[in-house]
């Protein structure tokens, strides 16, 4: 007999057995549904939360920053027969440019793993207005390139995003501290007599206090003059397509350029740690809920196999092969998993929508359209696996003994 024909019968028997035990089926389906709802909801919540945190973190920083290597003392190695005792005082790291940065930029532009490249010059300065002073970080940028690293124009709360020709864009906190509005003048002092007066063209709010209080954007040329690095830049910011590959890509870029490459993963180690332990917790919840669902299915089917001993015996007596009995119960497990997870998946999805509508509204949880189908698939497979033990037991019944069972 073809398997498809046999499956027709098995499908029919499995369905009837489930319908016949309506109460049991209903209860275990409810149990599976609760489990699946929890899994779907918590998965969506945590995935959404993590995506949100990462998005916020990366919204205000480059994925990989390429910096000039640290300056170190060169110590002549001692000759083979003598020892050298070295007392070293570390070098002060003065502001200096990346050599040949134009070439490096061009090479990075061609790199397929890198989405955006933006040379930046940055250095410290004092901002003054009247008697008020604030220490700031000057950032000389090439606006179109920089926009692709941090879309600053989206974060403007006043004015326009223009730098150059004596214009600067500053953060909201700095504007408040110095009482600055659009069109006001701001004096920047980078030390050693290098000073400039700029117009405030735009005010941004990135939502990170440190940045909003310190960043002053200028164009490359003006910043280079102020920081006394004509034609130089101090860092190349890049973004990559695969954010979790940033570490690996950074190492590759370091080898490629001979410079220092810092990935966001390195600079946000704490955050990543927190996220991964959160993921682990979620994973554990999922596994344990999955296990209890599996045990629920297994125990219901184990009871059902005992209850149906005689009927199994009759089926076997009528010529039903062992494999058919096995599949009847595997199918029941799969059906319970599918049915329960379909209900539970729907409920979980609904919970996410409720959370989005009425929750704390800190962030929106997007539900991956594959999440519920995936949960259903996993639950179905879990059901089949959970059914394996009872099903094998049913298939092994000796028909002569099973028929006499009361």
């Amino acid at each position: 007999m073809r398997l498809a024909d046999s499956l027709w019968t098995e499908w029919k028997i499995a369905l009837r057995f489930l319908l016949d035990n309506r109460m049991q089926t209903l209860l275990i389906t409810f149990g599976i549904a609760v489990g699946s709802a929890v899994i779907v909801f918590i998965t969506a919540l945590i995935t959404g939360l993590q995506a949100n945190v990462i998005e916020r973190t990366l919204g205000t920083q480059a994925h990989i920053r390429i910096l000039p290597p640290d300056e170190v003392n060169r110590i002549l190695p001692a000759d083979e027969v003598s020892w050298s005792l070295v007392l070293e005082s570390p070098r002060a790291q003065r502001l200096r440019s990346i050599i040949n940065w134009q070439d490096i930029r061009d090479v990075l532009d061609q790199d397929t793993q890198i989405l955006a490249v933006s040379p930046v010059i940055s250095g410290p300065a004092i901002a003054r207005r009247g008697v008020a002073r604030a220490s700031v970080a000057l950032l000389g940028i090439d606006p179109p390139r920089y926009q692709r690293i941090i879309p600053l124009a989206n974060d403007l709360i006043a004015g326009r995003f223009v730098v150059g020709a004596g214009n600067a864009v500053i953060g909201k906190e700095l504007a408040r501290d110095l009482g600055l509005g659009i069109g006001d003048k701001l004096r920047l002092d980078a030390g050693e007599g290098r000073e400039a007066v700029v117009d405030v063209a735009g005010i941004f709010e990135l939502g990170v206090r440190e940045l909003d209080a310190r960043y002053v954007y200028l164009d490359l040329k003006q910043a280079q003059t102020l920081l006394d690095l004509p034609g130089g830049i101090t860092v190349i910011d890049t973004t990559v397509a695969e954010i979790f590959e940033a570490d690996r890509i950074a190492r590759r870029l370091a080898r490629l350029t001979g410079l220092r490459a810092e990935s966001w993963m390195e600079t946000n180690g704490q955050l990543l740690n927190a996220l991964s332990s959160q993921s682990m917790t979620t994973e554990m919840i999922r596994v344990f809920v999955g296990i209890s669902v599996a045990f629920g299915i297994a125990s219901v089917l184990a009871v059902s196999v005992v209850q149906r001993t005689r009927e199994i015996g009759i089926l076997r007596a009528m010529g039903s092969p062992r494999g058919q009995i096995l599949r009847v119960f595997l199918l029941q497990g799969g059906l319970l998993g599918l049915l329960g997870s379909a209900c539970g998946g729907g409920v979980g999805w609904g919970l996410v929508q409720v959370f989005n509508l009425f929750g704390p509204r800190l962030f929106e949880i997007p539900v991956d359209p594959t999440l519920v189908p995936l949960a259903m698939l996993v639950a179905t497979i879990t059901g089949v696996l959970a059914a394996a033990m009872p099903a094998r037991r049913a298939a092994r019944y000796d028909p002569a003994v099973a028929i006499r069972y009361v």
Binding site: M1, R2, A4, D5, S6, L7, W8, T9, K12, I13, R16, F17, L19, D20, R310, E311, G313, I314, L315, R316, A317, M318, G319, S320, P321, R322, Q324, D398, P399, A400, I403
Partner: protein, 242 residues
């Protein structure tokens, strides 16, 4: 397998020195059947009688391939079965044997009609319209066409037994086995079930072996086989049968 198969014309079943012991290898080991020789031909209707505990059900289970003999050989349609595996025995059960159990044993999750169709569904999946027609015909034959869509729990014991007979016949088996099919029925209903066996036997020509305690019902059968303490003590034709 070396034994020559001397097959009588139309022989459906032959037992050759069949023994059956239970709990083999334990202190509780008991031999229930002590070497049974028996054969049954096409169109024969035989009653198997004997006191309780004489081994009738054990014998029927062996013939129905639900259990295997401890020694001896059992031929179904001339085919030796001792060395066949579970798969082959299962197939033979479906194709050669119709079994009516003492306690009718319908499957409660299915309707009367579906119960009758079950052996065919096991054999080839979704029943064809010819299958359904056949099953309805058999239900008609046992006088239950009006109950086709009822659940087994909604009909009486006698009716359930008749459904079980229809189910045993739906594959048109060459051999019909019935283990005390009337054991828990009143005399009149038992009578009508036996009527049915006679009619089916005449109509389909299948061999019927039926266990009964009722001497009057047995006397009605063409042949009576008596089993006492695991041995066939008499096997004779009934002159009084029709």
């Amino acid at each position: 397998m070396s034994e020559p198969t001397i097959k009588r014309a139309g022989e459906v079943l032959r037992l050759d020195q069949v023994r059956k012991a239970f709990n083999v290898g334990t202190p509780l080991e008991t031999e229930v059947l002590h070497g049974i020789d028996l054969s049954l031909c096409r169109g024969e209707l035989a009653a198997l009688i004997g006191p309780s505990g004489s081994g009738k059900s054990t014998l029927l289970n062996l013939i129905g391939l639900l259990d295997a003999p401890s020694s001896g050989e059992l031929y179904l349609l001339g085919q030796a079965t001792r060395d066949s595996d579970d798969e082959a025995r299962t197939r033979l059960r479906n194709q050669v044997i119709g079994f009516v159990f003492q306690f009718h044993h319908l499957i409660s999750a299915f309707s009367v009609l579906e119960n009758v169709l079950m052996p065919l569904m096991i054999r080839h999946g979704k029943p064809s319209s010819a299958d359904i027609e056949l099953a309805r015909g058999l239900l008609d034959e046992v006088g239950l066409s009006a109950f086709a869509d009822k659940k087994p729990t909604q009909i009486s014991g006698g009716q359930q037994q008749r459904v079980a007979i229809a189910r045993a016949l739906v594959t048109r088996p060459p051999l019909l086995l019935a283990d005390e099919p009337t054991g828990n029925l009143d005399t009149r209903t038992a009578q009508s079930v036996f009527e049915l066996f006679h009619r089916i036997n005449a109509q389909f020509g299948c061999a019927v072996l039926v266990v009964t305690h009722d001497p009057r019902l047995a006397a009605d059968c063409a042949r009576t086989i008596q089993l006492v303490d695991g041995l066939v003590v008499s096997d004779e034709a009934n002159p009084s049968s029709r």
